[in-house]
Symmetry: C2
Subunit: 157 residues, 2 copies
């Protein structure tokens, strides 16, 4: 009898823990934005232009350094295509902070990026910097409203 | 009698309009962030270091181009002091979009900046670009959580 109830209690605890974990993963909006941030990186690093642009809301903006603001899918598509054309581009970024408004429809991720590509002479150019991405939830999906970044490196190397 | 009731109606309409306008101005959080954005510009353009830094929450960050991230009042103070030391610095910015979460404690402003300063030879250097500022409401006041900007101009002039 003792053994049986112990197993029952263990099962109940395990089930409670599992459900708590499932619900935390499903409902924590910080985790959802963090995941969206890294899902976006995945399609961007893979140079998937359509999927990369689709992460941005209609009318959203990408604010890249040394270029005018790109607003809307057409302008952002051109901006991203320019990036993807960089020879041997490798890029990654990681959020070090994610926050969500209590109302759950707006948030941001911010962190660091690192990228390398080859210049026309074949020399590897390295850049690292920081970014802020403003996210909005539309029809259950987190999408980019604004993305802005800049380099940590000196302007005159 | 007709005249009297007409005046009464006019007074009621005027009063209703006035109260609608007052309440809109007092409670619209977009207007509050827009005002904070421009209040910040005012103390920044005046090179008031203490007031400029006090617009940033404790632990907030300024992400300036070609420099590492500045987090916390000490680091931000150093970063702003560097700006203010630029000879004959003139700066202005204007938000072209302000949004606030429904919960009213988080929002952002984004727009364009323009600045001029003199280089060591006395030549006027001009820069224009764009920014995103993430705002948080703390004890009734809108403060900067993250501020990031970059230039529209080509990196190699």
């Amino acid at each position: 009898m003792f053994k049986r109830s112990s197993i029952l209690i263990l099962l109940m605890v395990a089930s409670a823990l599992a459900s708590a974990q499932t619900s935390r993963h499903a409902t924590n909006p910080r985790d959802a934005i963090r995941k969206a941030d890294q899902d976006w990186l995945r399609v961007f690093a893979a140079k998937d232009l359509t999927k990369s642009v689709d992460f941005v809301i209609a009318g959203g903006s990408v604010l890249a350094p040394n270029a005018p603001i790109a607003t809307g899918h057409d302008a952002i598509s051109k901006s991203f295509a320019g990036f993807f054309a960089l020879p041997d581009l490798k890029i990654e970024w990681r959020p070090n902070k994610v926050e969500v408004a209590r109302s759950g429809e707006m948030g941001y991720s911010t962190g660091a990026y690192h990228m390398t590509f080859k210049d026309p002479s074949g020399k590897t150019i390295e850049d690292r910097g920081k970014y802020v991405t403003v996210w909005k939830k539309q029809r259950g999906r987190w999408l980019v409203a604004y993305d802005i970044f800049n380099s940590d490196l000196s302007a005159t190397p």
